[in-house]
């Protein structure tokens, strides 16, 4: 009989469970490592882009009072009074600088205003603070009388915010008109589209250079192909910095290429190649080419020459036969390579930072800027999250139209 008794079924199930637990134990160390060093930092970073309690912790009472504010005029004396007291407290604890920084981020030009006001408010003591606090505040700087400033403070005080995403998308929130395109400088959307365009150009270049080479390699004998593959892999074994620096030496105004061109008389003036997006594209194509060649080569190796022979024997000319038979069969390798190159180049940092100048900057360079220079980790996190979302979206689209199951990495 084919059916099992209950005891047999139970034994089989428990044996299965044991096997699964054993298998799980093998991956536990790696899992813990990845959780601690990869998943957790990224999650906390992404969390930062929406969770920002600093202002709420600095001036909790003012924000409490602002809850009843109608938003149409300057908040009432009582609210201003509470703020003056809190500012006084912060100034004494030397925390007013932090508040100044936060306010400045929410409302341009507030850094010095907060700092000077804090100095004035800090001089008030006891009853004076309670009575003249509000007036001192308003006297210190006319900006305190602006309604939109208080609106910005109210928003900055919220623990959970999507403001950084608005900034990252070149949008802003206005009390009267709602979400709109930011009136001041718009840089991020442009940078995203530039990043995508450059990644696309790099991917196309890699495909155009890698496809014929892989085809040639796949047609060689195993020994010779392996020898030549070492040459393809050689750049992998060289430091990234060395390779990028080599490109600087090649591309700079008095570099190898310009000297050569001027030497043979093709041009009288050197071309400006370094610190342009041209330099970024060239250097990154060179660096990412192996990621295209390897999956392509491995797929092409697996294609029996008899497919093309069959197409020819059936009467098709070589070029159409190639387009109809060989090319579709290499698509898994081509898409794997393209996806790898595209995704890596979208997030690439070092090379554009070194050879790209301002023209060849990509979104990752701006993210780094906000992490290291402007100290706006929240905005950096928002930009990073958007980049991640963008890549996931592209992957989804790719899966939709090409099919992820078609990817073959080797």
């Amino acid at each position: 009989m084919s059916s099992l008794t209950t005891t047999e079924a139970r034994q089989a199930a428990s044996a299965q469970r044991k096997k699964r637990i054993t298998a799980f134990m093998f991956v536990v160390p790696l899992l813990v490592f990845i959780l601690l060093t990869f998943v957790a930092p990224i999650a906390s970073m992404l969390w930062r882009s929406v969770h920002h309690p600093t202002v709420a912790e600095l001036i909790p009472h003012t924000l409490e009072a602002l809850k009843d504010w109608d938003g149409k005029a300057v908040p009432d004396q009582h609210t201003l009074q509470i703020f003056a007291v809190e500012l006084n407290g912060l100034a004494k604890e030397r925390l007013s600088g932090k508040l100044a920084e936060e306010f400045n981020r929410a409302y341009t030009g507030m850094s010095s205003v907060v700092k000077s006001t804090a100095r004035k408010v800090a001089k008030l003591k006891g009853d004076d603070l309670r009575d003249k606090g509000a007036q001192t505040l308003l006297d210190a700087n006319p900006k305190w009388q602006r309604t939109d400033l208080w609106y910005a403070i109210q928003r900055a005080g919220e623990k959970y915010t999507y403001d950084y995403y608005l900034t990252a998308l070149d949008l802003e929130l206005k009390p009267d008109t709602g979400i709109q395109v930011r009136e001041e400088t718009q840089i991020y959307l442009q940078l995203y589209s530039k990043t995508l365009t450059m990644a696309l150009v790099i991917t196309l270049l890699c495909a155009a250079l890698g496809y014929p080479l892989s085809y040639y390699l796949a047609g060689l004998s195993e020994n010779r192909a392996n020898l030549l593959l070492v040459l393809v892999l050689l750049p992998f074994w060289t430091s990234l910095l060395v390779r990028t620096t080599a490109w600087i030496a090649l591309l700079q105004t008095n570099g190898v290429i310009n000297s050569f061109l001027m030497g043979v008389g093709l041009t009288n003036e050197p071309f400006e190649m370094l610190y342009t997006s041209f330099a970024t594209v060239v250097a990154m194509t060179h660096i990412l080419l192996p990621f295209m060649i390897l999956p392509l080569y491995s797929v092409m190796r697996g294609i029996d020459p008899s497919y093309m022979r069959a197409a020819l024997s059936l009467g098709d000319k070589p070029i159409p036969a190639f387009a109809k038979i060989y090319l579709p069969m290499t698509l898994p390798g081509l898409s794997a390579g393209a996806l790898l190159v595209f995704i890596i180049s979208v997030g690439y940092y070092i090379t554009p930072a070194l050879v790209g100048g301002t023209d060849g900057q990509m979104i990752s360079n701006i993210i780094a800027f906000h992490m290291q220079r402007s100290n706006n980790w929240e905005l950096a996190a928002a930009l990073g999250s958007l980049l991640l979302a963008l890549i996931l979206l592209l992957y989804w689209l790719y899966d939709r139209f090409v099919g992820a199951s078609n990817i073959k990495l080797g």
Binding site: S306, R309, A310, L312, S313, L314, G315, D316, K317, P320
Partner: protein, 372 residues
């Protein structure tokens, strides 16, 4: 083997040679005339040059020297896609990203046939290989035998002049292989195309072919109809490669019109058909098929005789296989039909074995073997 006297043969290989490394010849002076509608098999061990000949005919390999002619016209200058030659590959080479219908329609589309005409043709050929209900499947969803049939239909659908088959049944199991042999024969009889078939399986070659060219070391050893190859092998290689063969060593004692007399190593003299060893005193190998060798009581005293000791008896099914050993340790095999008369022997029993002169041939004896 041309259709009519005076006509050029349909397909002709003349003095074809091929080298890959510019040092050694893979194919040495290949000559073959094929008539229209003939089923020719190139048979030989792997590396003997038979597939290379096929590839040269299809146009996937260059001919080093010599000429291949179709209808008297040299093909060397014609591109592979213009040769109108159908080909069935060992691994089928069905296009995996196309359905069966698309696979079959491919050669017709290339020939710019009208849509309904293509559809009708595809239907016809799907029916021909009994895969009507599978038209919209992809090759990956088919069994090996089904793929084989599609590959066959695809090679035939554009009515090529010649169909080449490169070990087409090599990937199938035994039973399916036999089934497909009949299938291919049926289609060949029905459609009348010319076939050049490459295989290393001698049974396959014997059952299917009109003529077989036996290859070894880039040379055609013999090209003849199956029964001739089997019963009148031209040399020792052919005798050994096709079917099983008993070999006895001796020297030529005298030469008659059709036969030669051979002195065996124990001094006995036997009579054999004349083959490629005709010099008096020359070392020779006599080849006798196991089913032609029998026990003396069957033949009486008309044939040649040799004494041998009984070694083993194997029950194979349709026949019984007996193993004997002569005084000089030469192994002899007798195949006896599994009927009531199949005798029993006791161990080491001395038995007289007999055969007719017309069932044996005096063939060459290579130096290496002569030395042992």
């Amino acid at each position: 083997m041309a259709d009519q006297a005076g006509d050029k043969p349909f397909l002709q290989f003349t003095n074809v040679k091929k080298t890959y490394d510019h040092k050694s010849l893979v194919v040495k002076d290949f000559n073959l005339d094929v008539a229209k509608g003939e089923f020719i098999t190139l048979l030989g061990p792997s590396g003997s040059g038979k597939t290379t000949c096929l590839m040269m005919l299809a146009g996937f390999e260059d001919v080093t020297s010599g000429e291949i002619l179709i209808n008297g016209r040299p093909v060397t200058s014609i591109a592979p896609y213009q040769r109108n030659i159908g080909m069935v590959f060992q691994q089928y080479a069905l296009f995996p990203h196309m359905t069966l219908r698309e696979n079959l329609a491919y050669p017709l589309k290339v020939r710019k046939m009208a849509k309904d005409e293509i559809n009708a043709k595809v239907d016809e050929y799907l029916a021909l290989v009994e895969l009507q209900d599978f038209g919209n499947r992809h090759p990956g969803q088919l069994s090996g035998g089904q793929r084989q049939r599609v590959a066959l239909a695809r090679a035939l659908i554009f009515a090529p002049d010649i169909v080449l088959m490169d070990e087409p049944l090599g990937a199938l199991d035994k039973k399916l292989r036999e089934q497909m042999q009949f299938e291919i024969k049926r289609l060949h009889d029905q459609l009348g195309f010319t076939v050049i078939y490459v295989t290393h399986d001698q049974t396959e070659a014997l059952t299917m072919s009109d003529r077989i060219a036996v290859f070894n070391n880039g040379i055609v050893q013999q090209c003849a109809a199956p029964h001739v190859l089997y019963e009148r092998p031209a040399n020792l290689f052919v005798a050994g490669f096709i079917g099983e063969s008993n070999t006895l060593r001796g020297t030529i004692a005298s030469v008659e019109t059709d036969t030669v007399t051979v002195r065996l190593e124990d001094g006995a003299q036997v009579s054999c058909l004349k083959a490629n060893c005709t010099e008096i005193g020359a070392p020779t190998t006599i080849s006798i098929r196991p089913e032609k060798l029998t026990f003396t009581d069957r033949l009486g005293t008309t044939g040649n005789q040799i004494k041998a000791r009984f070694v083993a008896r194997h029950y194979v099914g349709e026949y019984i296989r007996y193993q004997f050993e002569t005084a000089d340790k030469t192994e002899l095999v007798v195949k006896n039909l599994n009927d009531s008369s199949a005798p029993q022997f006791s161990a080491q029993e001395e038995v007289a074995l007999a055969w007719l002169a017309i069932d044996s041939q005096a063939l060459d004896r290579p130096q290496a073997q002569a030395a042992t």
